[in-house]
Amino acid sequence: MTRTIGPLVVGAAVILAGIGVAGLKLNPYVYFAGYVILQYVVIATAWNILGGYAGYVNFGTPAFFAMGAYTSVFLILSVKAPLPVLILAGGLVAALLGLGIGYLTLRLRGTFFSIATLALAVVLQTVIVNWEFVGGSRGLSIIRPRGAPFGNYVVFLFAVMTAMAVVAVLVARFIERSWIGRGLAALRDNEEAAECMGVPTLRLKLFATTVSGFLLGIAGAPFPYYVTFVDPSSTFALDYAVNALAMPMIGGTTSWLGPVVGAVLLATAQQLATVTISSELNLLIVGVVLVAFVVVAPEGLIGLARRMRGR
């Protein structure tokens, strides 16, 4: 029992700490940057459930993120739905998309799966660009609801994102420690052998793609209220695809801690670099760090730390 309760207590403590930080009324930029870092914790963790545990590389992260964001835009415009409904709906739509790509894995493995996810992102972006109701290619402005808790909407979103990050990490940790994680690891190493040993590979893959999609969707759902202006080029940005890959790769893909470490380090570095250097140069740094890590330290920081302790 203590093994399941322990992490829950830690998670609850982190959420309370988040709410405490939100109540401190620090410099607004802290919340503004903190939101992005926590959003990347969710994205990296979600990507890693499929990419790290199951070994299916998803290049289509922006598609899922944008599904969450545009579901929100649609619901805000049509029925003025409240934030919890937006998050749930965004997650569910992205989860359905995840289920869809899960069925693709029946025929597509390895490279072909990755290219298909990239294809999916471009097809969805084209659909959104041509859909005038949600702003088309020009995008549209979203007005935040009035009267937010903590007196400021970004601070409120910061607290919400803290809770979502905790949920995402707990889900990833649960999957990793349960028979599901062992099944996914088996199919990652050898799908045919796993199937022969009685691992229900299709059901596990569908589970992984759906959960991963759901978490990417909830990360995108509050995005319209955060930026207040949504357009296809910022929502489907290739940056999300690269960061979602780079963060788990830098942290380490085999455990839940890897994406968290990678996301916190890389997103914080990017936030600092955007302010002090330039936003383009910081993307270049992400690319170089990513390539350096896959070449030199394929197990990521967690793997490096383990090797150091082993010696």
Partner: protein, 290 residues
């Protein structure tokens, strides 16, 4: 608003575009189709070739396609180096599936961001006497800036076909794609052969880049449009089939041209990925697949 005139123009434009698309996809057909190396960064080398043509055209006024041909040895060497790094870091460890893919994705991103740091996000174009001129055959306009890349593209396809079928290195590349161990037993070094093939693939992409900037202005992020086109053509044509690449290029060119004529250009990017998803789902071996 349908008219036969419009249809004829769209089909001819699509056919010309198709020859160019074949040129764009030859390199990835070689690298991915024959060698099974998922080089997602291939479109970035296309754009790099286009910017090389732009810089030389801007400074010396040289013909963009001539520059493209002159630059192929440089890009061949770049490709050979990239393959050596890839081989040493991933293929030798048997780790290419996941991390190799991420490696190439990182290269794509680095090249794109570097180009936008150097040249900004403005559209760049080249000057040549034939750009902007056209002639008319039976009511159908044919622009030289489409016709010449198409002719060069078909010529490149023919040359690559002859290279693979008639020369020692070409036949060795075909052999390495079939059975690497058997080639080693014949006394040839598969890694050397693959380095040559990868270099030729990157050189072909850079020359296609010179054709690209002859057809239309280029920005660093143009590479994203070509990821879909390249892989769609390679998969549709049947992995590694050179003739199939030409046929698939023409199919994609005509479909895109019809789509943008009758539904608007904003739908064109979805065509290639739509075809790709369809082919992967229905017939993953492609039209001329083995």
């Amino acid at each position: 608003m349908f008219s036969w005139d419009l249809l004829a123009n769209a089909v001819v434009a699509g056919l010309l575009l198709g020859g160019f698309y074949a040129a764009v996809s030859l390199g990835i057909g070689l690298v991915f189709g024959l060698l099974d190396i998922a080089n997602i960064a291939q479109p970035a080398f296309l754009i790099l070739g286009a910017y090389a043509a732009y810089v030389m055209n801007e400074s010396f006024g040289a013909d963009p396609i001539l520059i493209g041909i002159l630059f192929t040895p440089v890009f061949y060497l770049v490709g050979a180096v990239v393959y050596r790094v890839y081989y040493g870091s991933f293929e030798r460890r048997g780790d290419e599936a996941l991390r190799g893919l991420v490696f190439f994705f990182g290269i794509l991103f680095i090249l794109e961001v570097s180009l936008s740091l150097k040249f900004g996000v403005d559209y760049r174009l080249v000057q040549a006497p034939y750009i902007g001129k056209s002639f008319e055959v039976a009511g159908v306009g044919i622009a030289f800036r489409y016709l010449i890349p198409c002719v060069v593209g078909v010529a490149m396809t023919g040359l690559l076909y002859l290279f693979l079928g008639r020369t020692f290195y070409g036949r060795a590349i075909m052999a390495v794609s079939q059975d690497q161990a058997a080639l080693r037993l014949m006394g040839a070094d598969p890694i050397h052969i693959k380095t040559v093939a990868f270099g030729v693939g990157i050189a072909a992409a850079s020359l296609a880049g010179a054709l690209l900037i002859t057809i239309a202005p280029v920005v660093p992020s143009t590479d994203r449009d070509y990821i879909g086109r390249m892989f769609a053509i390679t998969v549709l044509g049947g992995m590694g089939s050179i003739g199939g690449t030409l046929v698939a290029g023409v199919i994609l060119g005509v479909t895109e041209s019809l789509m943008s004529t009758f539904f608007g250009p904003s739908w064109a990017p979805a065509v290639s990925f739509g075809i790709l998803l369809l082919v992967l789902a229905v017939r993953p071996a492609g039209l001329f697949g083995r």
